[in-house]
C-alpha cells in the first residue's frame, strides 16, 4: 500500500511539474523568450488529457487503435510461430544450423527498422507492411530463445524418454516442443513490445490509419498535445498487452516453480 501511494505521488509530482513549467503566464518565462513557448514545445497536461477524452468520447480513436492492435497481434503471432518453427528446426539439425549461421547473424545484427520503407513498397501502405516489420522484429527474439532452449534440453531427459520408447517424432512432441515453449514464453513480453514497435514505426513512416498515423498528422501541424496524447494511449495499451501476456503465461506455465511458491510435501 505504501508502495502504491509512493507510485501515485511520483505520478502527481510529474504532472504538476509539467503543468507548472508549461502553463503560459503562470510563472515568468526563464528560458524561453515568450511565455507560450514552453507549451508549444512540451504541450500541456490538461490539454493532452482533453485530447484523449475527446478521442474516446467521439469514438475517433477506436478505428485507429483497432488497426494498430491488429497489426501488433498479427506481427506477434506470425513472428512467434515462425520463430518457434525455425528455431526448432535449426536446433535439431546440425547441418542446417551450420549452413545458415552467418545469414542468421547478419539478419539479426542488421537494424531491421530500415526495412520499413522496403516493406511499404512491397506490401503497400495498408496493414501488411506494418505486420511484416513486426514479424522481422519478433522472429529473431523468439527464434534465438527457442534455439538456445532446445540446445540446452537436459540430455538425461532425452535419454530417459528414449528408454521409455519414444520415437523421434514423440521426442519432438514430448520433450523438445514443451521445452521450447517455456523459452518462447520467456521471450513473449519482449516480443509483444517489439510487435508494437513494428506497428507504430510502420504507421509513422507511411499509412492512412492507426495511432502512429494520428501522431504523424499531429506532428505535421505542430500539435504537440495530440502527439503526447498518442504516446500516452500507446503506452497504456502496451501495458495492457503486457498484462494479457502475463496472464496467459501464468495459466500455461503452471508447471514452472515460482519463487514465492512454498507448497511442498
Amino acid at each position: 500500500m505504501r508502495l502504491r501511494s509512493l507510485q501515485i505521488l511520483i505520478f502527481a509530482l510529474l504532472i504538476a511539474g509539467w503543468y507548472l513549467l508549461t502553463a503560459p503566464d503562470l510563472i515568468p518565462a526563464f528560458y524561453f523568450e515568450q511565455d507560450n513557448r514552453a507549451a508549444f514545445f512540451f504541450g500541456e497536461p490538461q490539454k493532452v488529457f482533453w485530447v484523449i477524452v475527446a478521442w474516446f468520447a467521439t469514438g475517433e480513436i477506436f478505428s485507429h487503435l483497432g488497426v494498430t492492435l491488429l497489426e501488433t497481434v498479427l506481427g506477434f503471432v506470425i513472428g512467434s510461430v515462425f520463430g518457434l518453427g525455425v528455431g526448432l528446426w535449426l536446433a535439431l539439425s546440425r547441418t542446417a544450423s551450420a549452413v545458415t549461421e552467418p545469414y542468421i547473424k547478419g539478419f539479426n545484427s542488421m537494424p531491421r527498422v530500415v526495412l520499413a520503407p522496403i516493406f511499404a513498397v512491397w506490401f503497400g501502405l495498408g496493414i501488411w507492411s506494418k505486420v511484416a516489420l513486426g514479424v522481422t522484429l519478433v522472429f529473431f527474439v523468439v527464434f534465438f530463445n527457442v534455439y538456445q532452449g532446445v540446445r540446452e534440453v537436459s540430455p538425461t531427459l532425452i535419454a530417459n524418454a528414449r528408454m521409455l520408447g519414444a520415437s523421434q517424432r514423440q521426442l519432438l512432441r514430448a520433450i523438445y516442443l514443451p521445452s521450447a515453449m517455456s523459452w518462447v514464453f520467456a521471450s513473449l513480453h519482449n516480443a509483444v513490445g517489439l510487435a508494437f514497435v513494428g506497428a507504430v514505426v510502420g504507421e509513422y513512416l507511411g499509412s492512412s490509419q492507426g495511432v502512429g498515423y494520428l501522431i504523424l498528422q499531429a506532428e505535421g501541424t505542430f500539435d504537440i498535445n495530440t502527439v503526447f496524447a498518442g504516446i500516452v494511449v500507446l503506452t497504456v495499451f502496451a501495458l495492457v498487452l503486457d498484462a494479457i501476456v502475463g496472464a496467459v503465461e501464468v495459466r500455461l506455465m503452471t508447471w514452472q516453480p515460482r519463487t514465492s511458491e512454498t507448497e511442498k510435501v
Binding site: R162, A174, V265
Partner: protein, 273 residues
C-alpha cells in the same frame, strides 16, 4: 550364470572417448565382461568416476562400445538400431518431465507405445499407489520432494514392466532414512516378479544389502571388474536390519578388502589431477 541364457551379457567391452582437443583418447572401460542372469540382482560398485555409468549406458544401448559385444537374452544389441527395448533405466539425475504432472510422467512410456489414454491412466493410478504416491498424481515434479520424485521415476520405469532394470545410483541424492525406505520398496517390488537388475552404486553397504552378486570395478581410467562376490544372505531382507548381521559384516569386510586399494588409487589420481 548357469541358468540358461543371461538376461544381459557384456563381452570384452571397451569404451574409448576421443579427446576434445586432439590429445590422447580416454579409455573409460577396458575389456569388461559382465553378465546378469535372468531374475538376478547384480550390483556394480567402484570408486567415483571409474566409468560405472558408461557401462550402464552401453547396456542400455544409449552408447555404442568401441569394441566388444552386448547381448540381451542372447540377441546382439546394436545401438544404431535403437536402445535396448527390454530394459528400463533409472537415472541418477532427475529425468522427469517438469511440464507433466505426476500421473502424466508415469504414463509417458505407455503413451509412447500407443496405449489408449483411459487404460494408461488406470495403470498409472495403480502404479502411483504401489509406490506410495496415491493422490499425488496431479502434482508437478517441482511440487514434490526428492524422495517422491524418485518414487515417481521408479513407477515411470516399472510401469512398462521391463525385463531388465538398469539403475544408476538412483538413490544417491536422498538422505539416509529415505534411502533405506526406497531400498526396501525396491526389494519388495523386485520380489513380486524378479526382474534382472543391474544396479550401479558407490555405496558398498547398499550393494550388499540389495544384491545377489556384487561386482567390484577397478579405479579408472580403463576400468574393469576385479572381483565378483556372491551374496547369499537370506531373502526377504530388510536393508536397515541386515546391516547388523554378522554375515553381512563378514561380506562387507571381504569386499571392502578388495575395493579399498582401488578407492585409494582413484583418490590419489584425482588429487594429482
Amino acid at each position: 550364470m548357469t541358468r540358461g541364457v543371461p538376461a544381459l551379457a557384456l563381452e570384452d567391452v571397451t569404451c574409448r572417448f576421443a579427446a576434445r582437443d586432439g590429445g590422447a583418447s580416454y579409455v573409460a572401460v577396458a575389456n569388461t565382461t559382465l553378465t546378469v542372469g535372468a531374475g538376478e540382482f547384480v550390483s556394480v560398485v567402484g570408486p567415483t568416476g571409474c566409468g560405472k555409468s558408461t557401462l550402464l549406458n552401453v547396456a542400455a544401448g544409449l552408447l555404442a562400445p568401441s569394441s566388444g559385444r552386448v547381448s540381451v537374452f542372447g540377441e546382439a544389441l546394436q545401438p544404431e538400431q535403437g536402445v535396448n527395448r527390454r530394459a528400463g533405466y533409472m537415472f541418477q539425475a532427475d529425468a522427469l518431465m517438469p511440464w507433466r504432472t505426476g500421473i502424466e510422467n508415469v504414463v509417458a512410456g505407455l503413451e509412447f507405445r500407443g496405449v489408449p489414454r483411459a487404460a494408461a491412466r488406470a495403470q498409472g493410478e495403480t502404479w502411483l499407489r504401489r509406490v506410495g504416491l496415491a493422490g499425488f498424481g496431479d502434482r508437478y515434479p517441482h511440487q514434490m520432494s526428492g524422495g517422491m520424485r524418485k518414487r515417481l521415476a521408479l513407477a515411470q520405469t516399472l510401469i512398462l514392466s521391463p525385463d531388465i532394470l538398469l539403475m544408476d545410483e538412483p538413490f544417491s541424492a536422498l538422505d539416509i532414512q529415505t534411502r533405506q525406505l526406497m531400498e526396501n520398496e525396491l526389494l519388495a517390488l523386485w520380489a513380486e516378479d524378479r526382474k534382472s537388475v543391474l544396479f550401479i552404486t558407490h555405496d558398498l553397504e547398499e550393494a550388499i544389502s540389495l544384491s545377489d552378486r556384487v561386482v567390484v570395478l577397478a579405479a579408472g581410467p580403463g576400468t574393469h571388474p576385479i572381483g565378483d562376490f556372491r551374496i547369499d544372505l537370506p531373502r526377504p531382507r530388510d536393508v536397515s536390519e541386515i546391516r547388523m548381521t554378522p554375515a553381512f559384516l563378514a561380506l562387507h569386510k571381504e569386499i571392502w578388502g578388495a575395493m579399498k586399494e582401488e578407492v585409494l588409487k582413484a583418490y590419489a589420481s584425482q588429487k594429482a589431477a
